[in-house]
Amino acid sequence: MTTNTASTSFPEYSTEPVVSVNNVSFAYGDIPVIDSVSIDVQPGAFLGLVGPNGSGKSTLLHLMLGLQNPDTGTIRLFGEPAGEFDAGERIGYVPQNATTAAQRIPVTVRELVTMGRYPQRLVGRFTETDHQAIEDALQAVEITNLADRRVGQLSGGQRQRVFIARALAAGSDLLALDEPTVGVDAESRESFYELLADLNESGLTILLIEHDIGVVTTYASDIACLNRRLYFDGNPEDFVATDALAAAYGTDQHVLSHNH
């Protein structure tokens, strides 16, 4: 029941990757950030993107979503060049620190979730379908009772659910999250990742940047380990078995791998 909205919105299970990154490099000025990265994200995958600070994770995510263009290489999003892809409602994106801005602004939970319908209806009256999608999304992440509260009045965990609901209201096929649980207490984090796992099970493809490697190995179906280059791309079991983490993190690995 909880994932009703998400599952109904998936058109078909094609075998074509949701995101296909092919030999991509990117630099800010002359500082290389991404170097010859190739990776495919299959429909229904839950990809955890890990790597040290400044390893280019957020940049890679931007490139995948078509928010930036690669210097070399190609990126396809739902089979189209990412930069030209224009079905905005198919992409649900929760940027890093998105929730901190929303905290200041007097915007209600319902207003924020409604934004999910904006790509389809930038002007004009909302239809019954729009309203239903919004209600279903609120229901799916169990925040219907908070709908008229200001986003700033919610706890960190609740606030994250609001942003997920926005993507569900849009009927997104791809959910991209950039370190979503920074500043969220441990208990809410766990239930948040359970929610993501449920949504993923219903068919939603998820891209997650996360610094807590324990979370990624527990919930993700695939792991990509990045530090400018791609050090690992495969399933969590293999990731734990290899020394990719140590290679990507350099000497800091003992600190970061303790909690798996």
């Binding site: 905005g88 992409i91 998105a98 929303a102 602004i105 007097p106 790509p119 849009a170």
Partner: protein, 356 residues
């Protein structure tokens, strides 16, 4: 791109407006407006004045001042709400000061080249140009900071003051009116401009409300959702320029930004939703302009200043009412029962428990 089209249409409207005013074409729209202003609105106010025995409502220049102020009270917060929540409050001030340079450019060109440009038109052009350049800076160079706004602001004002002194002394007389604003000189043209702007800006914000809100709350997600973020950010700053320039003559260059910021901040304390925050900000602004204009008339003080002081007073009152724990005030007042006014240990404990 829709945007150049909007800009061109906007400029055409403006140029059309200014030229029609200037050549005193008795064109249809202007006739209609004059009729509405003097015969409909003016007569209505005269009736009000007689019914309530309030003399000032009967003076045409006060009638114009009130109408102009009411328009400012709408468009200021309407655009300001998006600006403030995008954390660009300083942009309004910056554009106001560069608009002053625009006024000076107009006056300068008129003197040197014997033209008869409206200083408001040049101010509008300079302010819109600056707005787009600043937006470009924010967008591309990622060079946006308080510092860059401060540099643009002061440079604009410096340019204005230099051009003023380079022009014959004659124009310096009118400069005070631009700097501090003036009620008594509100002309029919001023009011006309504000009414036109009121309609135009309300219309644009209504049509573009959703993308403007999305861009304000979460620009990165809006971009991922393939909303033309750049377009709406530009629209936002151009609207700011329009508001600032059209309200400048009444509020003054130095104070005009307050109308985009102070009522919005006031509303932010109490609003439960974004729509509500716009409505409350407009209400707060209307309170400020109406009380400000009235006080300015009654005490013969500067209108811009009294409007802003009214807005600031409302802000402080709201701040205290919502933020401060004012229960102690009531505890100090004698209660009717007279039973529990003393600060017993038990009473304090109960209170402390509540607060946690």
């Amino acid at each position: 791109m829709v945007f150049p089209v909007i800009i061109v249409a906007l400029l055409q409207t403006l140029v059309g407006y200014f030229s029609s005013v200037h050549s005193h074409l008795s064109g249809g729209p202007w006739r209609l407006f004059e009729w509405l202003l003097t015969d409909v609105y003016g007569t209505g106010m005269n009736v009000l004045s007689e019914v309530f025995g309030v003399q000032m409502l009967g003076y045409p220049y006060m009638q114009r001042a009130y109408l102009a102020a009411v328009c400012i009270g709408v468009i200021g917060p309407l655009v300001g709400t998006f600006l403030v929540h995008r954390e660009l409050s300083m942009l309004a001030d910056t554009l106001a000061h560069t608009a002053f340079a625009g006024v000076a450019v107009g006056l300068f060109l008129n003197t040197v080249l014997s033209l008869s440009l409206s200083p408001l038109l040049t101010a509008m052009i300079v302010a819109i140009g600056t707005a787009l350049i600043v937006e470009l800076l924010i967008d591309h160079a990622e060079a946006y900071s308080d510092t860059s706004l401060a540099i643009v602001l002061t440079t604009g004002f410096a340019l204005g003051s230099v051009l003023i002194t380079m022009t014959d002394g004659g124009i310096a007389v009118g400069i005070d009116a631009y700097l501090f604003g003036s009620l008594s000189t509100v002309s029919k043209e001023n009011v006309g401009l504000l009414v036109v702007m009121g309609l135009l800006i309300s219309g644009l914000v209504t049509v573009a409300y959703r993308p403007l809100l999305y861009v304000t709350v979460d620009a990165a997600a809006a971009r991922a959702a393939r909303i033309n973020v750049r377009l709406y950010k530009r629209l936002m700053v151009v609207l700011t320029a329009l508001v600032v320039v059209s309200a400048m003559q009444i509020m003054g260059v130095i104070l005009v930004a307050a109308m985009l910021v102070v009522p919005v901040a006031t509303a932010g304390f109490v609003a439960q939703s974004f729509k509500q925050s716009i409505l409350l900000a407009i209400l707060a602004a209307e309170f400020a302009v109406l009380s400000g204009v009235t006080l300015a008339y009654v005490y013969g003080i500067a209108a811009g200043g009294s409007i802003v002081l009214s807005a600031a007073t409302l802000y402080v009152i709201t701040l205290i009412m919502t933020k401060a724990d004012i229960r102690w005030v009531f505890r100090l007042l004698p209660t009717r029962s007279g039973a529990s006014t003393d600060h017993t240990e038990q009473g304090l404990k109960v209170d402390g428990g509540e607060r946690e």
